[in-house]
Every structure is written in structure tokens, then in C-alpha cells.
């Protein structure tokens, strides 16, 4: 089956979703209460802030977006309220309605960069939409629509025949950089686009989805044929200047996003898996020019990405040790819960 037909199917499902949710009311979430509890205990501060412990305890719009999404998946409306209250009050301050991306507990004002991070905005709007539909909250849906429209207006750009998602409103466009526009392929949160189309209908979401797919097909750098974290779309796609030329911490979540969005484009998924698979499911970060390994990641959250690919592609069930969630660091643990949630909801055979 091709990617696009999968998408059509996914869109079909999406239409059916509201009823599905109505039926699912009262059911527990796809993130278990225990897992969510241990995640919160480690990464959610009492004031509603998701703490990135791997980055000096700062917070960012991406973290708040993940927190909101996990709260929906854990079916915890109270935690969603908590995280949303913080997010709106502390980050959703920009004139254009997008979130300031970076927040530090030790500085005043706490926002230390007013620029946005588009994946953070997408995650927040996506989670708000799901929450609004699940708990019948018009205020969530209205807030989601506002952010989604702003994402379309401020960060979606046509360039050289491509529909691109600028990583931030400032600093990445053709006018801002010699090699601009520069994009981050891992900012394409594929599962969010059809959902956002419900609160802010626009053909651009589909264009983003198709453009993102085409871009991933084309991003085959170096001997491992892997995408880079940061890509210049100035001419032909190539690693952007001034960023590490690597398949790194950003790009490693691309396959997880793909499977969560329902992709079974085995050619693409297999290529990505081969490029990052180490021993025992370790995840390899690599130099996209030379293919040499930059880091071998053995956190179960990172490994999970490899294991879920193995299950999707080859029907290999997940190993026991990654079925159990035990929080380590904010980022891999977030990916871990997103992966487990997907397995529970869509791939019970993997568990």
C-alpha cells in the first residue's frame, strides 16, 4: 500500500473519530495511569511546566505540547488544565498568536527567546484539538483554531515548488539566510495535520503532508541514506549550513511520527531503520556526510523507535524491557510514552 492511500484511510478514520471518542468516554487512556504518574513525577513541575532535564531544566513549547498530548492520551483532563494554564499564561504571548519557544526558570522575564518553534505550536494546537473534542471544551477548540491558523499564516511557505514548514517565524526563510529556507524535517508532525484541518480547514495541511512525504523520500544523505536534522531547501535539498551535519536527536523521531500517523511506507521506514539500527536495538546517530556513527543511544525511549519499526515492518513483537516504562530523561521518555501509546492503540500485536 502506498503512503497516500494510507493517508486517505487515515483521513477516513479521522472523520469517524468524534463518534469513536464519544464511545470511548470513560475508558482509560492509551497512556496508562501508572506510566503517566511516573512521567509526571519526574518531568511535570507542580505549576504545569514540563521540565527538560536534559537541557538544564528549561522548558519549551515543544515540551508543553508533548505534555498536553500525553495528558490527552492518559485521559487526564486535570493535568491537561494544569499544563495548558501554564502554557497559555507563560508562552502563548506572541502578537501572532504562536507560542514563545524558550522559557527559563532562572531568568526574568522567563521567556528568553520570543521566537516560536513551529513543532511546539503544532503539538500544542494538536493536543488542544484532541482535548476539545474529547472533553467537549469549546475554549480548547477555539484556542487550537487560532494557533493553527497562525501556523498556516506565519510558518507555511511555498518555495521552489515545495510546501515548507519554517521551523520558526524568524530566522529560517530565504530572506533570512543565504541557504534559506531551512527546514527541520522532524517538525512535520504528520499525525497532527489532518486533525488541525478540522479546526482550521485549509488545503495547506494536505500540501504539507504530501510535501513532507516527498521531502523524506528525497532526503537520503551519505552512505546511510539518512535525513539531516536541519536541511536547506534553497536549491536541491542538502544539510543546512551552521548546523551539525548529522542525523541527530531531532531527526530520530521522524520514524516514530511516521508510524504514529499510520504510514506503512515500508521502503521509507526500512531505509530509516537500517540507517539507525545498532546492536540490541540501540539507536545510532550519524554523520550524514560520512555515515560514521556519532553516538549510540541505548535509552529505552530511543531504542523503542527501532523496536516499533521492527514490529511495524517485520511483525517482531516488542522486547519485554521496552514494554515497561521507567522515566529516564524528558526527551527519550516522552518518545517512549508516545510509542507505547501507539502500540497499545493501533498495534496490540506488538505488545
Amino acid at each position: 500500500m502506498t503512503w497516500r492511500s494510507v493517508l486517505l484511510l487515515a483521513l477516513g478514520l479521522v472523520v469517524a473519530l468524534p463518534q469513536g471518542h464519544a464511545k470511548a468516554e470513560g475508558r482509560s487512556g492509551t497512556v496508562s495511569a501508572e506510566d503517566w504518574q511516573s512521567y509526571k513525577a519526574k518531568f511535570l513541575d507542580p505549576g504545569g511546566r514540563i521540565v527538560d532535564d536534559g537541557n538544564g531544566g528549561i522548558s519549551h513549547s515543544e515540551g508543553q505540547g508533548y505534555g498536553l498530548l500525553l495528558a490527552v492520551l492518559a485521559d487526564s483532563s486535570a493535568d491537561f488544565e494544569l499544563i495548558w494554564s501554564f502554557t497559555r499564561r507563560e508562552l502563548l504571548l506572541r502578537n501572532d498568536g504562536l507560542a514563545a519557544w524558550k522559557w527559563s526558570p532562572s531568568e526574568k522575564p522567563h521567556v528568553i527567546d520570543i521566537n516560536n518553534a513551529t513543532d511546539g505550536d503544532i503539538l500544542i494546537a494538536y493536543a488542544l484539538t484532541l482535548a476539545g473534542e474529547r472533553w467537549k471544551r469549546k475554549d480548547y477548540l477555539a484556542a487550537a483554531a487560532k494557533i493553527a491558523k497562525s501556523i498556516l499564516d506565519e510558518t507555511v511557505a511555498e518555495y521552489g515548488g515545495r510546501t515548507l514548514l519554517l521551523p520558526g517565524v524568524a530566522g529560517f526563510s530565504a530572506g533570512d539566510r543565504d541557504d534559506g529556507p531551512v527546514v527541520n524535517p522532524s517538525y512535520w508532525v504528520f499525525e497532527a495535520f489532518p486533525v488541525l484541518n478540522r479546526v482550521a480547514p485549509s488545503p495547506k495541511w494536505k500540501a504539507l503532508q504530501d510535501g513532507g512525504q516527498a521531502m523524506l523520500d528525497a532526503l537520503q544523505f551519505g552512505p546511510r541514506k539518512m535525513p539531516a536534522d536541519w536541511v536547506s531547501a534553497r536549491t536541491r535539498l542538502k544539510p543546512a549550513q551552521g548546523f551539525p551535519v548529522e542525523f541527530g536527536y531531532n531527526a530520530l523521531r521522524i520514524p516514530l511520527y511516521l508510524v504514529r500517523a499510520g504510514s506503512d511506507d515500508t521502503a521509507l521506514l526500512s531505509r530509516l531503520r537500517e540507517g539507525m539500527l545498532g546492536e540490541d536495538g540501540d539507536l545510532l546517530l550519524s554523520d550524514v556526510a560520512t555515515g560514521s556513527v556519532r553516538a549510540t543511544l541505548n535509552d529505552p525511549g530511543y531504542q523503542f523507535v527501532n523496536h516499533i519499526l521492527a514490529c511495524v515492518i517485520e511483525r517482531v513483537p516488542l522486547p519485554e524491557r521496552v514494554k515497561v516504562f521507567s522515566p529516564t530523561q524528558y526527551y527519550p521518555s516522552t518518545l517512549h510514552l508516545l510509542g507505547l501509546s501507539y502500540a497499545k492503540e493501533k498495534r496490540p500485536e506488538c505488545l
Binding site: P46, G48, A78, E81, L82, F86, R89, R94
Partner: protein, 735 residues
């Protein structure tokens, strides 16, 4: 009871008025939703809606009017159902239990305002505690500012207890508190649209108890160019709020952000204390300074004489140079030069500064005391762009005086140095005329050339250069200038029109006295003298009105000594500025390849003007070295002025045409010449080249037509070429 109702109602009304400016529609929706959700009794709803309607009608909130209106509802006439409102006393009980008397009192006032018929408990501290422990916790979190946690607690309880609803009072307070925090955060981050949006959505924030919020909203309006709305916010405070320090601070903020007229509007609401002292008296001196300063920037602003007089008195009593300066600029802007000079002198003598000297110099220039102006400003010439511009206005004017003023060596030397350092084309041009008046045509030619380098479209300099070259006998140089300015300057074209005139001129100009040694960079042309009898150029007053462009960036020719770059060094170690200087120096020594390297280093400069100069220099260097293609590349490495672009393109195309011809690629030669024809008038030598290209392509008719046209101007090459065409055609039938 009545009075507090009036105050609150007035506040709400005016708040609605202010917010209404931001977005009437949004506001109405929001208020509707808020009162619908509050469930606090219909009386309140009615009052809110009534206020909104009035707010929507009136653009400027009228406190008086509202006060009258709301006194009646208090008497019960428009509040038929206010008999049994359900008063939510949970906050009251919470604050009482904590012994928080300040908050308790505020809550009592608030409830009284909302429910005029409500009677507060006799001993509020004896009010029984909330029995609802969870609610108690929510109030506690709220009072600690932990709003997100209140949200969480509410949601948790709603999940656990179906049908439970939080008290409307708690929800409303939470909304307002969160909005306040968000507004303050947006304001701190200069996200002014968000500030206004939040304020519009939360009118209950805009009250006297939140003056800081009102200030922030007003500031957001100022920052987004909506001063009238800012004025309304400040007006609201002055009309309604009682706190003396806040009123004073409001005026201070308002006058710093609002234009003069609006500031006067606000000051009309000043109150007089029982002792007869006006409440803003302590601000008077600063207000006078502030308003006169605004008059400094806007010559059309009519500042009330009382402020001028107050400031004049201040100069007498306090003697601050800064106050005298304010008055000086105020008068200068109104062309009252005599008082302006007097105030500037006062400031200058008291405490000299760039501003004082600049102002004084401007008044001196105005009365044509240019020499004094130059002297006053010289020490401050580098203080600011403005000071520099004024200095060059003085120097250009000083040199332009007719008959020329005899200036000391010292003054001339320092003006020359500043001119070259500051690259001021106006003064350079006037130096040219000054040199001509002093009968130093070679120096004049040098200055005009310099002026043209800085300002390629400076026709008077081109004209002056042509005159000087003509005087020096450089016919080719004159012709070249005429070619460059063909169609752009009548007087340059007509220079040296007839033989008779030329001979007359030569006769009159037997020995051009050259008193100064010509620097190595001077015009290197030594052909027979061609002189014009054009009248002396009228340039003297030109720069009195026209401010010279003075951007100090780079020293140039006359400063560079040819010895400065004789030693070989690696230019990569130089700063961009030093590399640029070295590039020009090497060009003077005719070492173009080394110059190109130096310019390459200067091309890394952050300043675009320097990059432009470097690209220009490198292009010229490659042209001189015969590396036309490299010159073409260099020319594109930075944006260039139109004059330079045409100059470089013409030179590049001419070189390419010649190179193509030498390589016997005649069609290509014609293409380059066609391109050249599109950007500049054809040089005769290139027309001859075109003719020979035709000839070699055996396009005899075209070759002949060109040669005939050029030969008609007396061009010997063309005449010889005509013979060549004939010869070629003669040979042809024999073959």
C-alpha cells in the same frame, strides 16, 4: 453603599470604554459570556449589559454621566429582581479564616458594589470557615497565585464529582488573575497586540485597583501608534482614580509617551489640594523641559509660552547647560537665530558639548560666520553623524565663500584631513573650486576627482574637473568626461566649443601657475592645453541649504601617502579599513594585482559601504591588470551605486570588445559593443573598432557608414579606416 456602587459602576463603564476601543465586538461577546456564566444574579447582568451599550455608543468614556445613571439602579428603579441575589461568600470566609484583613476588606467592598442590598457580616472574622475543604484548598492556591493548580483542582473535582461546579466567583477571579499575569508577561516581552487583546477580553482588569495594568495597556497603545487610545487609558486614571502617587506617575508616563496636545488634555484634569497646591506642581519643571524638547523636534509645534518662560527662569536659577540647550534648539527650529545663538553660547560656555557646539555652529552658519562655525565644531566633529554633517556644512560653506577667504595652513590642513576621512563630496568639491580660485588647477582636478569618486553623479565636480583638466591641457581627459556626461550636462558638453575660443583661452592662460606639487595620484595627462572661457561656476551658495552627506568611513587619496604601501605585507592580516586604504595606495603605485588582493581583504568588511568601495576598487584593479573577467566578477561582489555600475560595466565591456577583436572574434566584438551602447554613449575609438569589426566581417557598407560618421568629427583613425575600406573593396574584385 451608594458611593461605592457609583465608583465601581463608573470604573466598569469606563473600563468598557477603553477596552471597547480595542475590539467592541470581542468585548461584547466576552462580557455576555462572563455574565452569563457568573450566575450571580440578574441585577448584575442587567447593569453590565446596560453599560456595554452605552460604552458602544460613546467613544470617550464619561464618568459623570455614568455616575448619574448608576445612582438610580442603586435606588432600585432598574433593578427589579435584585431582591434576592445569591451572594457567594466563600472568598470572604476564606480570607477571614486566614486573618487576611486587607483582602477581606477588599472582598467586602467588591461584594457591596456587586450586590447593593447585601449586608456584610457584622464581625467578618467570625464568619464560619468554609466547610468544603477542597474549595478551601482552591482558594488557598488562588491566594498564593498558583492559578494553574487551581485549574487542575477544579478539573479533578469535576471528574470525581459529576455535576460539581466551581463557584462563579472563583472562576471569574481565576480568569482575571490569569489574564493579568498573561498581560504582564506580554507587556514585559513587548508583545503589545497580545496586551491589548487580553485587556479587551478582560475589562474587569482595567480598574483603579490595577493601575499598573492600565499603564501597560496605555503603553501598548503608544507602542502600536494608537496614542488616542493611550490617552483614553491615562484619562481614565486621572478622572477616576484617587491614589496620589499613582496619579502623579500616570502623568509622568503619559507625557513621556503622548504628543504635546494630548498631554495638555490630560493635564486639564489636574486637581488642586485643599492648601491650594496643584497636584502635579512637583512635575512642572520636568513638564516644561519635556514640552520644550518636543518643540525642538517639531518646529511647527506651538508650545504654551508658560513652559518656555518656566524653562528660561530655570536657566537663570539653576544654570543647567542642558536647559539652555533645550531653549537653543527650540529657537533654532523656529529660525529665531539670535536667541538661539544666545542660548547655545550659554550652554557652550557653561558646559561645552557636541550638541551645544553643533547648535552654535548652525546659528553661526546661518549668519555666514563659517570660519567661526568650523572652529567651534572642529573638536566635536566626530561626536555624532549630525555633528559631522554640520561640520561639513560649515567647511563646504567656508570654502565656497566668494571672494575666497584666506585660510591659514592649519585650518586648511585640518579641513582637508576631515574631508578625506569623512569622504564628504561637498567639501571636496568646494576644495576644488577653492583651489581653482587660488590658481592651483592640478590640486583642483585632484579634489574634483576625489569628490566624483565619493559621489559619481556630482555634476558640478565633473564640470570643475573638466575645467581644470582643460586648464592643464589634458584634452583626452576632457573628452573622456564629456563622453561620460553626454546627455547629462549641457555645460560639460559645450566646454571648449570652438577653435577660436580655445585659442583665445590658451592665449589668456599662458602659464597656469601650479604652486603646489602635484601628488603622485594627480591626473596623469599631459597633452596640449585646451582652455575654456566659460564663466566661473556659480557654486557659492549651493551648500548652504543642501546638507552635505557626511558618512565618515574611509580616508582616501590625499591622506594616503604613496610610501604607505611600498613594503610588501600580507593584506590578510589587515583590518578591512586598513586593507582598503592599502588597496587604493597600491593602485596609486600602479600595482593592481597586489591592490586586488588588498581589496579582497576589505571585501570581508561588515560595513556595506566599505564592501562597496572594496568591490569597486578590486574591479578597477583587475581592469587595470587586464583581467576583465575577474573585474566583472569583482564588480558584482557588492551593491554599487548606479554611477559606479555604469562606469565599471562600460570599462569591462570595452575591454572585452577589444579583447575579442584582438582574438579575431569579430561577431563577439559587435555583441559587446552593442551591450556597451545600451549603457553609455560610444567612445569614438570604440566606434572605429566597430567599423573594423564590420570590415573584417566584410560588411563594407556598415563599416563605411561608421567610419564616415566618425571621420566627419575630424578623427584621423576613422579617415585612415575609410581608406582601408576602399582598399579592401578594391582587392575584393581582384580575388
Amino acid at each position: 453603599m451608594k458611593s461605592s456602587t457609583v465608583v465601581i459602576a463608573g470604573i466598569m463603564f469606563t473600563a468598557v470604554g477603553i477596552a471597547g476601543f480595542a475590539d467592541d465586538g470581542l468585548l461584547r461577546r466576552n462580557l455576555g459570556a462572563a455574565s452569563g456564566a457568573s450566575g450571580s444574579g440578574e441585577g448584575v447582568q442587567e447593569a453590565s449589559f446596560g453599560l456595554v451599550d452605552k460604552g458602544a455608543r460613546s467613544t470617550v468614556p464619561e464618568y459623570q454621566q455614568v455616575a448619574q445613571n448608576t445612582q438610580q439602579p442603586a435606588a432600585g428603579t432598574t433593578r427589579p429582581q435584585a431582591a434576592a441575589p445569591v451572594v457567594d461568600e466563600s472568598a470572604l470566609r476564606y480570607f477571614a479564616s486566614k486573618g487576611d484583613t486587607a483582602r477581606l476588606q477588599a472582598e467586602i467592598s467588591r461584594l457591596r458594589a456587586l450586590y447593593p442590598d447585601w449586608t456584610p457580616p457584622k464581625d467578618p472574622l467570625a464568619v464560619p470557615r468554609n466547610k468544603d475543604v477542597q474549595l478551601e484548598t482552591m482558594w488557598q492556591l488562588y491566594s498564593e497565585g498558583r492559578y494553574a493548580e487551581v485549574r487542575k483542582a477544579i478539573a479533578e473535582r469535576q471528574t470525581a464529582e459529576t455535576g460539581w461546579k466551581p463557584p462563579a466567583d472563583l472562576l471569574e477571579r481565576l480568569n482575571v488573575a490569569e489574564a493579568r499575569a498573561r498581560l504582564v508577561n506580554s507587556s514585559d516581552l513587548k508583545q503589545y497586540e497580545t496586551v491589548i487583546e487580553v485587556a479587551a477580553g478582560t475589562p474587569s482588569l482595567l480598574t483603579c485597583s490595577e493601575v499598573d495594568v492600565l499603564w501597560r495597556v496605555a503603553d501598548a497603545f503608544v507602542q502600536t501608534d494608537r496614542p488616542d487610545r493611550a490617552r483614553d487609558a491615562y484619562l481614565y486614571v486621572l478622572k477616576n482614580c484617587e491614589s496620589a502617587p499613582e496619579r502623579l506617575a500616570t502623568v509622568q508616563k503619559a507625557v513621556s509617551g503622548l504628543p504635546y496636545d494630548m498631554a495638555q488634555e490630560l493635564l486639564a484634569f489636574e486637581r488642586t489640594a485643599p492648601g491650594g497646591v496643584a497636584e502635579f506642581e512637583s512635575l512642572r519643571d520636568d513638564l516644561a523641559r519635556r514640552f520644550v524638547a518636543e518643540g525642538d523636534g517639531d518646529g511647527k509645534l506651538a508650545v504654551d509660552p508658560k513652559y518656555i518662560q518656566r524653562l528660561e527662569r530655570l536657566v537663570e536659577t539653576e544654570g543647567l547647560a542642558s536647559d539652555a540647550l533645550l531653549l537653543g534648539w527650540y529657537q533654532l527650529r523656529r529660525d529665531n537665530m539670535a536667541p538661539a545663538e544666545q542660548w547655545f553660547r550659554r550652554a557652550h560656555d557653561k558646559e561645552d558639548s557636541a550638541s551645544a557646539s553643533q547648535g552654535l555652529a548652525l546659528t553661526l552658519i546661518a549668519r555666514k560666520a563659517h570660519e567661526d562655525a568650523e572652529k567651534v565644531l572642529y573638536p566635536w566633529r566626530d561626536a555624532s553623524q549630525d555633528a559631522k554633517a554640520t561640520y561639513f556644512a560649515a567647511t563646504a560653506n567656508l570654502l565656497a565663500i566668494e571672494p575666497p577667504v584666506a585660510l591659514s595652513e592649519e585650518v586648511l590642513a585640518r579641513i582637508a584631513q576631515e574631508t578625506t576621512k569623512g569622504r564628504d563630496p561637498a567639501t571636496a568639491q568646494q576644495f576644488g573650486w577653492y583651489a581653482r580660485a587660488m590658481e592651483q588647477p592640478a590640486t583642483a582636478a585632484q579634489w574634483f576627482t576625489t569628490a566624483l569618486r565619493w559621489k559619481p553623479d556630482d555634476e558640478p565636480s565633473a564640470y570643475g574637473l573638466a575645467l581644470s583638466l582643460s586648464q592643464l591641457g589634458d584634452t583626452a581627459g576632457v573628452v573622456e568626461i564629456q563622453r561620460q556626461w553626454a546627455g547629462r550636462s549641457e555645460r560639460i558638453a559645450r566646454l571648449g566649443e570652438t577653435e577660436e575660443e580655445r585659442r583665445d583661452a590658451i592665449a589668456r592662460q599662458q602659464q597656469p601657475p601650479v604652486r603646489e606639487p602635484v601628488p603622485a595620484t594627480a591626473v596623469q595627462r599631459t597633452e596640449p592645453v585646451v582652455v575654456t572661457r566659460q564663466p566661473a561656476p556659480q557654486t557659492t551658495t549651493r551648500y548652504v541649504t543642501e546638507q552635505p552627506v557626511a558618512v565618515a568611513r574611509q580616508p582616501q587619496r590625499t591622506v594616503r601617502s604613496a610610501t604607505g604601501c611600498r613594503t610588501s605585507i600580507n593584506p590578510a592580516q589587515l583590518s578591512p579599513q586598513a586593507a582598503l586604504n592599502r588597496g587604493w595606495c597600491l593602485m596609486d603605485l600602479n600595482r593592481p594585482l597586489e591592490a586586488a588582493e588588498a581589496f579582497e581583504v576589505a571585501l570581508q568588511a561588515p560595513a556595506s559601504q566599505m564592501r562597496e568601495d572594496a568591490a569597486y576598487g578590486q574591479s578597477l584593479a583587475y581592469l587595470r591588470a587586464g583581467l576583465t573577467n575577474k573585474a566583472a566578477v569583482a564588480a558584482t561582489r557588492s551593491k554599487q551605486s548606479r554611477g559606479r555600475v555604469e562606469e565599471l560595466q562600460s570599462a569591462i565591456l570595452a575591454d572585452r570588445a577589444i579583447a575579442a577583436f584582438d582574438a579575431k572574434r569579430y561577431r563577439e566584438t559587435l555583441i559587446f559593443l552593442d551591450q556597451l551602447g545600451q549603457i553609455s554613449t560610444q567612445r569614438t575609438d570604440l566606434m572605429v573598432l566597430r567599423g573594423y569589426a564590420y570590415l573584417n566581417l566584410k560588411r563594407y557598407a556598415e563599416a563605411r557608414r561608421i567610419f564616415e560618421a566618425v571621420a566627419a568629427t575630424g578623427n584621423r583613425d576613422a579617415q585612415r579606416a575609410l581608406a582601408d575600406v576602399s582598399k579592401a573593396q578594391e582587392i575584393w574584385p581582384n580575388k
